[in-house]
Amino acid sequence: MQSTTLTERVGRRVLRLVSAAVLVFLVAPVLIVIPLSFNESAYFSYPMSGFSTRWYAALVSSEEWRLAVVNSFIIGLASTAIATVLGTAAAMGISRPSFPLRGFIMPLLISPMIIPIVVVAVSLYLVFAPLGLTSSHAGVILAHAALGTPFVVITVTATLMAFNWNLVRAAASLGAPPLVTFRRVTLPLIAPGVATGAVFAFATSFDEVIVILFIGGAEQKTIPRQMWSGIRDQINPSILAMAALLTVFAITLFLVIDWLHGRAAPAADTRG
């Protein structure tokens, strides 16, 4: 039996209080968006002046927002597909003990995660503009794919740490061609890691605004890009309605990851 002293009990009480305050600080601003999005007033004032769904109506009827939602999904899914294929293949190489120059190549592969995003955006504009890749979906998709790859590399590499390479050898010795081995043996075993990486890559693209600000045109406006101009240029409470929907979306995403991983502690790209 473990005995607890008074100091320990007091310490524990203080710890709980402090943690509760911090958790409220974390979650309250995110959740408070939901009731505020039903505020009747056109200004972000509190107390609320009345209940109204007018901002949701404005959202649904807006052609701009519809385009932004469609763009977010097109760009997000396309860049996720590229990032997942390239990142998974790279992780398969890196995890082998024979992989050369690891200390040199690994920083290159995760550099999209740590290089300041404004530097990335300005650089891409410099190189993409003469190639006609600015104001194009292709340019934004390529850029977002690059930003998403480190997340796939890291999650799949972590999954492969526990992978038994003898299974691959066994399949090969039984005559399976490499691609069949990958599809029937390796992929099913690393699928949770690949899926987690893909969700990260998608979240990275879905939340990214700075690259789009620099290299995207009017046709490439995504949800975050639209929210940016909603705050920056015309203060419009329909961004609150969109924010509330995205919060619900985030909770859903959490439940998906939770289901994929049993319990996950993931990291999205939140560079501002």
Partner: protein
Amino acid sequence: MAAGAEADPMPRAGRDAYRAARRKEAMRSLAFALPLLVFLVAVFLYPIGALLLRSVQSEDVAAALPRVSAGLAAWSGAALPPSPVFEALAADIAAAQERGTLVSAARRLNTYEPGFRSLILKTARRLPDPAAGPVAPAFVAIDPRWGETETWHFIQRASARITPDYLLAAIDLRAGPRGLSELPPDQRIYQAAFARTFLISGTVTLLCLILGYPVAYLLATLPPRQSNRLMIFVIVPFWTSLLVRTTAWYVLLQPNGVVNALLAQAGLTREPLALMFNRTGVLVGMTHVLLPFMILANYAVMRGISPSYQRAAVSLGAHPAIAFLRVYVPQTLPGIGTGTFLVFVLAIGYYITPALLGGGGDEMISQLIAFQMDRQLNWGLAGALSVYLVLLTLAVYFVFNHFVGVDRLRLG
């Protein structure tokens, strides 16, 4: 492997075959990573390299004013250049105006001295005719600045194709005729901006550590069922879009927003506090966005720490607080390191949150880079500021990799 020392060395042919097989195996592993490497070089590393190179390139003046550039190459700078240089300037300006390259040269010269662009364009409109008499006095008649050696000195500097000037300008230095000098205090921007970026990032990192460490500790020491339930409080904000969270603070911190209303209701304030468009807004917003990184990084390490060491210390007579500080905290250093690294590195590149919640005195380096590129079209200075920002990021990365190790970076 004691037997190995006595056994015959591998026959030569066998050893070569073994090496060849290993090399082949290494190449095969590398082949898997090759598509991603090629992709990243093409759409990520090459563009960044191109931008960073812009910080030392200076082609505009040499291309637009080739004869002046050649004429000034041998000029000592002691007195005004000889009259052929003035004639070359007249010819170059006329030619450049025809080719449409004069404006970019004028813009480049303007980076040395505000007003240089208008000097060039004004001169171009009233270009002296070499046939009408000596050109040098005619130039001075257009503007007395043509009679000053400093003007010519700047043209000489700008016509060098490789220049240190942007890298100097990005830290408020200027190379004049008498060597390096600091800009006058009212024109210094960037040293202060770097210091501010460092200060804001450091403060945010410290706030995240102070707020996040206890939460991670509580989550790691609670029974799994309870801690899983509380984890939602960390993960949901984490998965929520950055823009949503910044928008939320934008709304909450308004003068007539929720926070001020609650403060007034509680009788704590009479007047609404200024909570946004200032440093408070930036710190609150950035801490909120980055705090989950700190909690998750520390939680991942703390979860693997056995409580028995701490208990042992207490049972041997240590005060619980001492046992915590001397026995528990040192075991969590990898978590503190990872969290600090992530938060700091992300913070120094921040753009959106300071742009929306900050005021005039809170601009971070990212905002200044965007401004130079977007509004000023000054690629050289944008590149030079990027060089310092990237170097700073890499320095933080290498410190982290040395003390903690990049392999500890986990996301799942």
